[in-house]
Amino acid sequence: MNAPVLEISDLSVDYGFGPDAVHAVADATLTLRSGEVLGLAGESGSGKSTLAYAVTRLLREPGVITGGSAVFHGDDGPRDLFEMDGEEIRALRWSQISVVFQSAMNSLNPVFTVGNQLTDVLRAHRRGMSRSERRARAAELLDMVGITEDRLRSFPHELSGGMRQRVMIAMALALEPRVLVMDEPTTALDVVTQREILQELGGLRERLGFAVLFITHDLSLLVELADSIAVMYAGRIVEHAPAEALFRTPRHPYTEGLLNSFPALHGERVVMTGIPGSPPDLRGLPAGCSFNPRCAHAVDACKETAPRLLPISWEPAEPRRAACLLQTDGFQAPASLTRTGLRAEEIGSTR
């Protein structure tokens, strides 16, 4: 297993202060290892973007980090991002941690050419580079994301949305960061462009060896792309497991519900069940497990005890954790949550 590059532990994020504060993320613990793609999935409002923004200290007012740490193993040893001041974190951003936002393509300045904006960062951070070297590097970056060199002279409005998003990814990679945070980078794009970009991303990661924290609501996308997946619900991580294991043998009822919500391309027609109800209001979470009102397997104890993210009691050696009471000692998890590697046959092998 690779060395960790970003260790998030017990991260809590509030919006606002005092009695009105909304606990958007509670006690989130995640480890991103170098060269790994860690997927973060969840519904709208589950706190996945908030988590990523908080880790990079980019969360806007009224967001406040209320606890935990995010240790980044950078060039100069492990440092807690939450202990840094503005200047230190500025030095770290882009060069070691870079972020691609959902609508990043709108961040391009319309009055400068793409080449100009790509070389700008090199001019600031790579002082020794000559003009022609910067240009060559910019061309190389564009080539990496599948855009031809002659586009360096284009203005942002001359590129399509997908190309602009790719330019932004190229920009994020310009200084070869260790960690790339991507917040729904392909949501605004059609599936074909999305696939192209993700394939390029996969190839780039193998060549350059950066780690990716990939946020999306599209669990099926993550199953293909990510090495491990964390599923969030109502501000908490409910399950964290290797992608394959999470997809084949979910251990949390919410993950199971999500996986049952998209249809197989082959196999018999089945009635999709989905998850009944709707995501809870973060201002008034149900007592106990916040998923209990929607959970098909909920028992009485679920209404009283909030589960913690723990290894599965009956398979403690597996590198996976779930926040479900039924997976702890003294409870019997239902059959659908205790399978070991049979899921593919059941829903038809689609991938």
Binding site: P19, A21, G63, V64, I65, G86
Partner: protein
């Protein structure tokens, strides 16, 4: 009401309420008419004459109580008239563009460069004597010089709004121009209009006081704080120890202006959701020991201690903190 939770608004409203009370009931509560000989000249403040007396032996307290009404009427009336003018002219110029815009902008520019006070003095000197006492006429005249700034601001806001998709969309589905203006554009301008109204009111108050002070209007009727300033200056109150005579109306005008400005800030924060910042107020940050607003790109870290973490709902126990 949520608007009252904002301290600026609350203070502004209370101040304004006090002045409106004085304006409405002042003349009734005043022990004497403003221009009636009731004491010796230059008496110091006493229980008989709270604010002392003038050179002529008039009661300053009565003059003060009588002085609010005309100022409030002139300021607010002129605020309403000037704001209405600026909305009509500014929005029309911004929305219709072209020749109309050229003409209306030119008009606004002319009124902007007119030196307001001398211009008003000239207008006043042409009024027939009987009309000089009319507060409504006074308000109308002051609005003439007060609308242009608001109109320019509203025009530029309208220009940026009119190209938005939702305005284009209602044009394409066949809405008439007046409906687009009233229902699509003007609601977006409400914060600007509110600010413009309060500051025009402030401007009108200052102008009215100034006009009275220089004696460009009938000084004794209607009686106002400007009249007190005029007489205290011409009777050399500062040299004769009658300082309350000019201090009282001066401070009152300043406080009324403060009330309007506070209300303006409050309304701005109330209407503009970005300024409301969902509870992350300066006060909240101070309680958490941060002392200043968070900067973009550096989310504040406010840790709770172990004891506090046990009761995360209670915000008062935030003890340890790091920026």
């Amino acid at each position: 009401m949520r608007i009252l939770r904002n301290r600026k608004t609350l203070v502004g409203l209370i101040l304004l309420a006090v002045f409106v009370f004085v304006g409405v009931f002042g003349p009734t509560l005043a022990p004497y008419p403003p221009l009636e000989l009731v004491g010796k000249p230059w008496e110091s403040p006493s229980s008989a004459h709270w604010f002392g007396t003038t050179q002529e032996g008039y009661d300053v307290w009565s003059q003060f109580l009588n002085g609010a009404r005309s100022i409030l009427i002139v300021s607010f009336l002129s605020g309403v008239i000037a704001t209405a003018l600026s909305v009509i002219i500014g929005v029309a110029a911004g929305y219709f563009g072209g020749l109309a815009d050229n003409f209306l902008s030119m008009l606004a520019n002319i009124f902007l460069v007119l030196p307001a006070l001398p211009f008003l003095i000239v207008i006043n000197s042409y009024l027939p004597a009987g009309n000089k006492a009319s507060t409504a006429l006074m308000a109308a005249i002051i609005s003439v010089t007060g609308w242009a700034w608001g109109a320019r601001v509203l025009r530029s806001q309208t220009l940026s709004l009119r190209k938005r998709d939702f305005v284009d969309a209602s044009g394409i589905i066949g809405e008439r121009a007046w409906r687009i203006i009233l229902f699509e554009i003007v609601p977006n301008l409400v914060p600007v209009i509110a600010a413009s109204f309060l500051f025009t009111t402030l401007y009108a108050m200052g102008t009215y006081v100034a006009l009275t002070f220089v004696g460009a209007v009938d000084v004794n009727s209607p009686w106002s704080w400007g009249s007190m300033l005029f007489w205290s200056q011409s009777d050399q109150a500062a040299e004769s120890g009658g300082w309350v005579w000019f201090a009282a109306p001066g401070i009152a005008v300043a406080l009324l202006g403060t009330a309007l400005a506070l209300l303006n800030f409050g309304i701005d924060e109330f209407i503009n959701p970005r300024l409301r910042a969902a509870g992350l107020t300066r006060k909240g940050l101070r309680q958490a020991g941060l002392g200043r607003r968070s900067t973009l790109g550096l989310t504040p870290v406010v840790r709770r201690t172990a004891a506090a973490a046990a009761a995360p709902a209670d915000p008062t126990v935030i003890v340890e903190e790091t920026v």
